[in-house]
Symmetry: C2
Amino acid sequence: MKRDIAEQKFLDEYDPSDYPPIAVAVDAVVFGISRSAPDNYRKLGKQSLNILLIRRSEYPFKNKLSLPGGFVLPDETIDETAKRVLKAKTGLNEIYCEQLYTFGNINRDPRMRVISCAYIALVDAEKTRINNAEWAPMDMIKNEELAFDHSAIIMEALKRLRGKINYTDIVFHMMPEKFTISQLQEIYQTILEKELLPAAFRRTIAHKITQTDEFTHNAGHRPSRLYRWNGADGEITVENR
Amino acid sequence: MKRDIAEQKFLDEYDPSDYPPIAVAVDAVVFGISRSAPDNYRKLGKQSLNILLIRRSEYPFKNKLSLPGGFVLPDETIDETAKRVLKAKTGLNEIYCEQLYTFGNINRDPRMRVISCAYIALVDAEKTRINNAEWAPMDMIKNEELAFDHSAIIMEALKRLRGKINYTDIVFHMMPEKFTISQLQEIYQTILEKELLPAAFRRTIAHKITQTDEFTHNAGHRPSRLYRWNGADGEITVENR
DNA sequence: CTAATAGTGTCTATTAGACAGTATGTT
DNA sequence: AACATACTGTCTAATAGACACTATTAG
């Protein structure tokens, strides 16, 4: 195959600075649970899975919702870009964050060639102070047209979350410090999009949590014990690679 | 937090073309199984897990082994870069290939800032025609100093392979069309680095394979039936995102 | 007392681990 | 016959699914 050798030669001689640059950006899919008040003293408040989005004020995609993001600067690693962007949007310093996937379709940004390295971050939405961003519930996002390829990125992020929920402790990064097992189960259910049996659920997560002496109050039914995640220490934030 | 607003302003005004460009490259971790002849008519040939490496002829890292790679060109997606690079090195067109992780440490390439989007590819090493690359066995690689951060990339690739082997059909992309269950089991064992029980192994993979009427010959023991993977059609190559 | 949720006990089904025992081609 | 591997049968252990039953609070 002659072409291979020619190709090889071409590549060996290729100097990236001869070409129009390809920009590298980070876009972050920040997941968070929000809890709304019950509409009846007996019932439980609903929880929903949300994503942090920013309404664009400029073209392209003016007025569309988009993921928080920013360019990778010459003197920072990609993880550092992710941290910086997240701090700017959420005001939080130490949030769980991992690289998701790198999206590189040629026309994903109409202005120029931008390759986006997407990250997933998980926070307790109630604890998070957001600047000019808003929490958008998953079901709303599915019916909304977002800027760039951000819908596709979010779908990929949800797949990853769904995949990792069963063999990692990833969800706990979205939980408050103390939570009930029912709360936790509801989140598993919304992420997995299926019902789980309470007895089996309790069994499988039992070793990941520790009970506290506290209970919920003021509901017209049996109070629920609060639990704490066992692995809370030192597991936060990103690794560098 | 005043810094956030300043940061935001900075980013909004940041034009990537004002800065020295960040090059984006693809490096591919190509896994393949090689089978060596037995040293005794009774025994089975050993199989080993190999990675396709290229000995560098230029500085930096002259004479070190490195992963096959190349820059992402302005008019191709990252997946297309991966395919092109793989075709150039292996001569194969349709090999299984998926994105692994993007490595962006600042000094991973001493010449300039290069972000590398790493891919995993799986081939049947016996079928693969390689140009000026060589198959290096995993155990050798672990004791060898490779160019750039390629050792770290390979370790990450191995982790991914190990993770996916149990819930996907990924290994079959390294198998020849017809194979024995023992061969398959040995590969699972080298990837997982643990022994498996034959009876249990057969049970768990039974639904993924179909028996043929063919058997191995000329070994000083009972012949082994050859099987074929059920999902061989249409599952190859990369998806575009 | 009632509605609504919290939590337990237990039976069954499925799957994984262990290991003995049988099968077979080459020299 | 003997070796080395191929393959099966079956017992046991661990885990998941199903579901009935008990517990507890505010109003």
